[in-house]
Symmetry: C2
Subunit: 144 residues, 2 copies
DNA sequence: CTAGGTGTTACTTTTTAAGTAACTGTTATT
DNA sequence: AATAACAGTTACTTAAAAAGTAACACCTAG
């Protein structure tokens, strides 16, 4: 998942919606906070909504979390916006005429699965509520 | 680290060298097994060598592991070929005029560090020797 | 001394993801 | 009902990243 910051933006959206209760939640306003563009925000929100994390209405500016922020984990968000679910990637083009080339893919897939599991377990322990509180604490510290 | 398979290729190289003792270890021969090209192999081998995992000689076809395969972990290899050491990535362009935008980066970096730690701990438990044995077992099963 | 290899750098191509635009259909408001 | 604004979606463009390739200086073994 090199270079992609979709997960970061998705967390940003959810945190934004939870923090600024009853403010402007148009895709335009959120895009402004992320310094991105509304269309991209709408796509991410669509993924979050399909994954059941966000409740939206089609022509209406009224997104809200589908459940309390302490019941949404980083893993939930990751699974919502990433469809490969692979942090590491096997080289799918190896020489099948070589004993190593024709077996290494399966070997590595098994190994990478294990690493993936560990990463996902860790994501599961990180809750949106914690992230939001961390943002608020950092903001408070700035103002002192 | 989407799409990148440098780690996979690096493991492939090391496994290849350990399995085929005293055979042709020219970058051309190894490239043939990976179905890649010699220059790329030489670059990866250079990284592995700089990280102290591989011993090479400049004009000579004589690469060998610097220590036994059971003393080389997947983490060693990962650290050797990846210099960002980040499986997840923060969006570095957020709006500093927004309370969320100006703090979320630090918040996410801390969270991602935790996930990275978990992934690396898992990589540490996977040893090159295990991967090689797995390849050989798979090959043996094919021939039955 | 020469043929063939390594190590390295620069460059090109391919792939991926972000960014953008456009359009349909829904909602809220008057 | 009309309309203005927005969500949801698709298609397309641009930018970024990684793989692939070529070239070359230097080293080594025969």
């Amino acid at each position: 998942m090199k270079y992609s910051h979709k997960l970061s933006d998705a967390v940003h959206i959810l945190a934004y919606i939870d923090i600024f209760q009853n403010e402007d939640f148009s895709s335009k306003a959120i895009a402004d906070s992320i310094e991105s563009n509304p269309s991209l925000i709408r796509r991410l929100m669509s993924s979050l909504s399909k994954a059941g994390l966000l409740i939206t209405r089609s022509g209406s500016v009224s997104p809200r979390l589908s459940r309390p922020a302490d019941q949404i984990t980083l893993l939930d968000i990751y699974l919502a916006i990433d469809d490969s679910h692979e942090l590491l990637h096997v080289d799918e083009k190896t020489n099948m005429n070589c004993p190593v080339g024709r077996n290494i893919q399966d070997t590595l897939n098994a190994a990478y699965d294990q690493v993936q599991q560990a990463a996902e377990e860790s994501m599961k322990t990180i809750v949106l509520q914690d992230l939001i509180e961390d943002v608020l604490i950092r903001e408070k510290n700035r103002n002192q």
